[in-house]
Symmetry: C2
Subunit: 272 residues, 2 copies
């Protein structure tokens, strides 16, 4: 794969929009999350407000469930004592899917059991139902979503989770996905597993502190994480996918002739 990337033109790479990039700063380092306003406009706007107002600063990762998700937010269960959300909206619509019209979509030819069509939209793994005219983001490793209660529209973006295990695609269109970890997922995936139900930490001393959660645009330019992401609508990406669908190196004895959406690598690199 490295050879393919090394041969790619600079135009096949893009950079992150600082206003749509969230830095989740843990004691062990920075998790860089690309937000997806094209799929979750209201949630992303609220998350931007929460970040600007320092909502998560001093809160915690409160859950790490093996082969599933790590989740962060306010561990307080008493509504009256919960951290105030400032000027963020207390109520958002569910953004499980959107009108497929106008959504760029690079379709994978490979069969998928969860959706009629799967592929990539602006760097995110996504799915589409041409008959229903809907598109949505999919729960692959590293995807970030907004936790909710039983009501479909009960997420406000204060409690977020990242997928750290086998793609839980059954969650697709059941919860609002807001973005994807593009660097630092291993800071979340190695967290000790919580021993409570659903992997919640049972004791406050187990919570992992959030140093801060800021938009990249809030951080001086010199302190931003500089990344280039391979455009999923580029020829190079198409070549990467094909090279993974049919491995031609010496080690592989039987190319699969198939790739699952969530096995497709989404290359990221430091600027050249």
């Amino acid at each position: 794969m490295q050879d393919i990337l090394d041969a790619s033109p600079a135009s096949d790479w893009r950079t992150l929009d600082p206003a749509r990039t969230l830095y989740l700063q843990l004691p062990t380092g920075r998790v860089v999350i690309e937000l997806a306003p094209d799929f979750a406009l209201e949630h992303v706007a609220n998350i931007a407000t929460l970040a600007k107002e320092g909502y998560w600063d001093g809160l915690f990762v409160i859950r790490s469930q093996d082969n599933y998700v790590a989740q962060w937010g306010d561990p307080e269960e008493d509504e009256a004592k919960k951290k105030k959300i400032g000027t963020a909206k207390p109520h958002l619509p569910a953004e499980f899917e959107r009108d497929a019209k106008g959504v760029p979509f690079v379709k994978l030819p490979d069969v998928d059991g969860w959706a009629p069509e799967v592929g990539f939209s602006g760097g995110f793994p996504a799915a589409r139902d041409p008959k229903a005219g809907k598109a949505w983001l999919t729960h692959c490793y590293g995807m970030v979503g907004a936790g909710r209660d039983v009501a479909a529209d009960s997420s406000d973006g204060t409690s977020l989770y990242a997928v750290t295990g086998q793609s839980p695609r059954m969650l697709d269109r059941n919860i609002t996905l807001v973005g994807r970890v593009v660097q630092g997922i291993e800071l979340l995936s190695v967290l000790p597993r919580g021993t409570g139900p659903l992997g919640f930490y049972e004791k406050p001393e187990q919570y992992v502190p959030i140093v801060s959660a800021k938009l990249a645009s809030q951080v001086p330019e010199a302190e931003r994480t500089q990344l280039q992401l391979l455009r999923t609508d580029s020829k190079t990406f198409e070549t990467v996918v094909e090279s993974r669908r049919n491995r031609r190196d010496e080690w592989y004895k039987r190319p699969a002739g198939h790739i699952d959406l969530c096995n497709v690598p989404l290359p990221v690199r430091a600027p050249k």
Copy 2:
């Protein structure tokens, strides 16, 4: 799911064969691995010999690659200095697949992109090609395989890996799978990621020591991990799968109507 399991008859559960169960003892606890002689007879026999002769005792987990595998064995690269394998065989055949005849197989009705048929065989996720008359184990989370070099038959069972990320099904039939972690996978999945190529640890002080690796049959009965595993050929398991294929609880707004092989839970419990 708990309700379904609570209502199950005792006959739907099985126990582990101590002669085919490997305890990988890490400083943080015991990883329990069920070996799969029906699919990898020669590898399992060699692993049993290696365990009995204490091969892994004092060796290390040497690799932790995010969203992929943790691997253990001898970090020594100089063939002359490698730990001796005692009476174990230095050479084994590749056991990538086997004749499907006589192999029990509970088929999932769900489409799979990697194989003509997928399902479960004796508690293990598996696949089958009726035309070719072959069956094989599949790379789901927690599956354990035998590392190899470029030659298909270069694994001897001394270097093992467990899947700790998105199911790398492209490895199916390219490497010999020897079993599955049935308890303690989280002891491997949280290990710090190696910073070398492929997630190998770069410095000896990063290696995670293996206290011991023994067959359950080598351990006094009172010290064995007592587990019951839901039989994958039971009616209860069928009910579990269907309950996951179409979630009917209040939280899920849209049942998927599908499940991927590697999303199917394989229930394990302490004896009642």
